[in-house]
């Protein structure tokens, strides 16, 4: 049986992709490569950009002037300036690079849009590890945090977080996104940003009470009532629903080294009053049993050779817990040893569904210090939480990568670009036959 499967697999590889729209099947050598500079933005929030600290540009920014009106070709300079510590970077991370050179390609056919990303990682390993639960002899406790967290900066926890590649997309309906890109979503009060509110303050806020959220994440200024677009001045759910119905939101999709890549997917979110998941289910979910304070799943010993990981396994082997492949329900009576590790998230292609599962053809391979991610997205999606890409359309894109065990604002970002699918734009997608 095994032999038959192996022959089948080899045959499939030799005869081409498993399906016509496999992004790996695109002849990328015929698609022009665009070099996009991703730089460290620090805490340059929407509010900072409109404050006098953004010298000689606050007023222009308020008027909607594009970032590149002044900062064209300045990505390297800004990144270098901010990465080592600055008013905008109160938590510098040692050894971090200010700039990442992203090689980007885009193509399309009658069915799909295809993206290819290549970038060098800072570390000489793939960022496929993600926080775990660690058994301390009595309890399962969180182990590994992103590098901007105080516990990592203080040396109390190791920096562990997956690598990511993100895209934000607009079809012209979000004010200022075309010129100011992702910065319209990044605000004071969000995680790792200035003026961080307490959980109690967030939970007491009417909008966040309605959302049942206890932290502030990306949002659009149009969903706030004040000119400064403050996190706590949310419009009513009815008003926000109207903005969404009119298409006034951004698509946000992330390829994740731990929580989506092992099942050949990327997630699918949208940014409106919060960073919301699309309807349905994304490929990852919590592996925490809140009642018992233990993991929900552990590794299937028969398939993985062990039911839990050890610290020495991290970054030496694939450590994603995939429900349909290598996971079994957690056994509290198993012979757990101090230092056993089980991933904090469980990943599943099978369980993903709905609009949240649209990005089910993306795959990244890390080789010689470089990620190569290919990604297909259907054209003409009709979900109310997606920006439908169409032939003939021009869309504004913002790109970001989280590199070197980090999350939230700890990414390298691009200024916005327009991409045309059979139309004039900064980057023009190659039409495939």
């Amino acid at each position: 049986m095994k032999k038959a499967l192996a022959i089948l697999g080899v045959t499939a590889l030799m005869t081409g992709p498993a399906f016509a729209a496999d992004p790996a099947s695109v002849d990328w050598s015929k698609v022009p490569v665009k070099s996009i500079k991703l730089f460290w933005p620090g805490q340059s929030t929407y509010q900072w950009l409109r404050s006098p600290e953004h010298k000689r540009a606050d007023r222009q920014t308020k008027e909607g002037q594009a970032c590149v009106a002044c900062h064209l070709n300045e990505e390297a300079e800004i990144g270098k300036k901010l990465i080592g510590g600055h008013d905008l970077e109160p938590m510098p991370i040692e050894g971090k690079n200010g700039l990442i050179d992203l090689k980007f390609q885009v193509a399309y056919d009658s069915q799909d849009a295809y993206f290819r990303f290549q970038w060098k990682t800072l570390n000489n390993y793939a960022g496929t590890a993600h926080p775990y639960y660690r058994f301390d002899g009595k309890k399962w406790k969180a182990f590994g945090y992103p590098k901007l967290d105080a516990v990592v900066q203080d040396g109390d926890q190791p920096g562990i977080y997956e690598d990511r590649m993100s895209m934000m997309i607009d079809d012209g309906k979000v004010a200022d996104f075309k010129g100011q890109g992702c910065w319209v979503t990044c605000h004071d009060g969000e995680r790792d940003s200035p003026d961080l509110p307490t959980k109690a303050e967030v939970k007491a806020n009417a909008l966040f009470k309605h959302l049942k959220k206890k932290d502030v994440r990306k949002y659009l200024p149009s969903t706030r009532t004040d000119e400064n677009a403050s996190w706590d001045k949310g419009k009513t759910p009815e008003e926000i629903a109207k903005i969404k119905a009119a298409g006034g939101f951004l698509d946000l999709m992330q390829w994740r080294g731990h929580r989506s890549n092992p099942v050949g997917m990327s997630d699918d979110f949208y940014v409106l009053e919060y960073r919301n998941s699309d309807a349905g289910k994304n490929p990852f979910g919590s592996n925490s049993n809140k009642k018992t304070h233990t993991p929900k799943y552990m590794f299937d010993e028969k398939k993985v050779g062990k039911k839990a990981l050890r610290i020495e396994d991290i970054r030496k082997m694939e450590t994603t817990l995939i429900r349909e492949t290598n996971a079994v329900p957690f056994d509290p009576k198993a012979d757990w040893k101090e230092g056993d590790l089980i991933p904090k998230y469980v990943v599943s292609r099978k369980d993903s569904k709905g609009s949240a599962a649209d990005n089910n053809r993306s795959k990244g391979v890390w080789k010689d210090g470089m990620w190569t991610v290919v990604w297909a997205r259907k054209l003409g999606l009709t979900n109310p939480d997606d920006k439908a890409l169409k032939a003939g359309g021009v869309y504004s894109f913002g790109f970001a990568t989280h590199d070197d065990n980090i999350t939230t604002r700890g990414h390298h970002v691009s200024f916005p670009y327009t991409i045309g699918f059979g139309a004039k734009a900064d980057i023009e997608a190659t039409k495939l036959n």
């Binding site: 006098p52 007023r59 222009q60 002044c70 300045e74």
Partner: protein
């Protein structure tokens, strides 16, 4: 005959007086502005009324940051009139009128729109608005006496990009270069509107 000679003397005296007056007038015409700018309108004259700590960087607890008079010489300090008194006879005369407080006699132009909207504007801010408006109306004439557009040496790309855009959009100096020297006063929303423009 005696009367004739006396008359001649009188005419000579008058002529001499007229000649002297004409000479003085010519000297005055040429000297009025430079003498006013360089000799009379010293910073001390301005700070006789305007609070010194707000207008001179060397005053105790100064709210003013130095603005170099000579590029590269951090010790040099531009004088008040260099930045606030555009060249020209009328502007020079305005300085006298202002110095004698005549310009204050009838009150300054008030921002009726803001006041009717219930916003009180502190006098310090109102003054900054007036000065900026003047710089906007004169297309940064005072800036341009030192900063020659096509001789500006940019140290960073953003300067090149921003100036290229400013030229394209016909923006003037003060629209970007504000809050450089004196106490921070935010630019008001309705500032820098060209005729027919509506504030964003």
């Amino acid at each position: 005959m005696e009367i004739f000679f006396r008359l001649m003397d009188y005419r000579r005296v008058v002529n001499v007086i007229l000649a002297i007056a004409a000479a003085l007038l010519i000297v005055w015409i040429f000297a009025y502005e430079p003498v006013t700018r360089n000799v009379l309108a010293q910073d001390g004259v301005c700070t006789y009324c305007h609070l010194e700590w707000e207008y001179t960087p060397h005053a105790k607890r100064a709210a003013t940051r130095p603005h170099q008079q000579v590029a590269g010489d951090k010790q040099s300090q531009a004088t008040c009139v260099q930045c606030h008194l555009p060249e020209g006879w009328w502007n020079t005369t305005y300085a006298y009128l202002h110095g004698l407080s005549f310009t204050d006699l009838f009150g300054h132009f008030r921002d009726y729109d803001a006041e009717s909207a219930g916003k009180w504007i502190p006098p310090r801010a109102a003054m900054a608005y007036r000065v900026r408006d003047r710089m906007f109306e004169t297309d940064g004439a005072v800036c341009r006496t030192c900063h020659i557009e096509d001789q500006i040496k940019f140290t960073r790309d953003r300067g090149v990009n921003a100036h290229k855009l400013a030229l394209k959009e016909q923006k003037t100096c003060i629209e970007c270069h504000n809050n450089l020297v004196h106490r921070q006063i935010d630019v008001r929303k309705t500032a820098f509107q060209k005729p027919g423009e509506v504030a964003k």
